[in-house]
Symmetry: C2
């Protein structure tokens, strides 16, 4: 019995968006399932000392160019958001709340939120925008609005981020296959190969 492929991503990460569009098809190809975990890179970067690459001298130019180039390579529609990077807190809380109720639907919410941000240039750090996107998936606005401020949901997200760090997650996307970690959308071909061969 195979364990699910663990998929960690931040809503502010273009490479996380690309991976979210691809990971389930890859898993299905190899008869596997996936378990999705939104994370907060802002919190993790406090431990690793990293900075969002788009704002770093020299490095920023490369990544601001590579976001769209990588999306084209993977055939994913991409438009650089006008507000970037963003806080992923509201979007991530919404996903964990829904995941406990309907895990598959929570993946649809992730994809819808990523598209709102990286295709439609909507500011998903705003709770109202998160509620708007969720409403299209027939998620009750009042229930989700209450959940976004529920201390249980807030703690759930904090604990998930800590657990991710404990597993070694330091970036987005970060994919773990039977304990074997892969960082970056540019490693999806390695993920495919590892799933096919079990190692090299």
């Amino acid at each position: 019995m195979n364990t699910p492929i663990e998929f960690y991503f931040d809503f502010s990460s273009p490479y996380g968006y690309i991976a979210a569009e691809k990971i389930d098809a890859l898993a299905i190809k190899h008869g596997r399932t996936t378990d999705w975990h939104p994370i907060l890179l802002g919190a993790i970067f406090k431990t690793t000392g990293a900075q969002p690459p788009a704002g770093v001298p020299i490095k920023g130019d490369y990544f601001n160019h590579d976001f769209a180039r990588s999306a084209r390579l993977f055939g994913v529609t991409y438009k650089q958001p006008s507000i970037f990077p963003i806080s992923s807190v509201a979007a991530s809380r919404a996903v964990y709340w829904l995941k406990d109720r309907d895990a598959e639907k929570s993946k649809a919410l992730v994809r819808a939120l990523y598209k709102a941000f990286f295709v439609e240039d909507r500011d998903i750090q705003n709770s109202e925008v998160v509620l708007d996107v969720a409403e299209i998936l027939s998620i009750k606005r009042d229930e989700l609005a209450a959940a976004l401020n529920d201390p249980t949901v807030k703690d759930r997200l904090k604990n998930e981020v800590q657990q991710a760090m404990d597993k070694g997650v330091f970036g987005s996307p970060y994919i773990i296959i039977d304990g074997e970690p892969f960082f970056g959308a540019d490693r999806l071909d390695q993920v495919d190969k590892w799933l096919a061969t079990g190692g090299w």
Copy 2:
């Protein structure tokens, strides 16, 4: 008339070593030439604020695992050096001095120095080790020893590092094809595709 593919690498970088083993075969496959530039990531990291990944909390574990895994993926022999990371100053000076005299032979020196470090666990930050490795390639020990302390050679390396930064180089390997930059050994498949298609 195509310009040479620009290949930037640091002698302390396992991914630079992998790329040095692969880049010329890739170039030849597409009828292209290469121009090799050793750089000093230590100097560049002062501008970008980056740290060598192997020493960063959480991130370090991943990269210390991935060095050998990536080498296996590319079929490159790899042994984690006992002294790591190292200063690349002496090795880089030797390469620029030789490059002005015999560019092809300077590539052979790069490969020999990388093998001394990443296969034979020799401490190539030590000038004497650089001279030992060079001697096997029939490079005159006295001439190279003098070059390593020649102010002209020292300035050449400094200028090369500055020029690399001016071109956007922030890591190793960093490959530029007709102005299009690719960072990381895990992008060699993208380099191959770009050389084949001229873009996507």
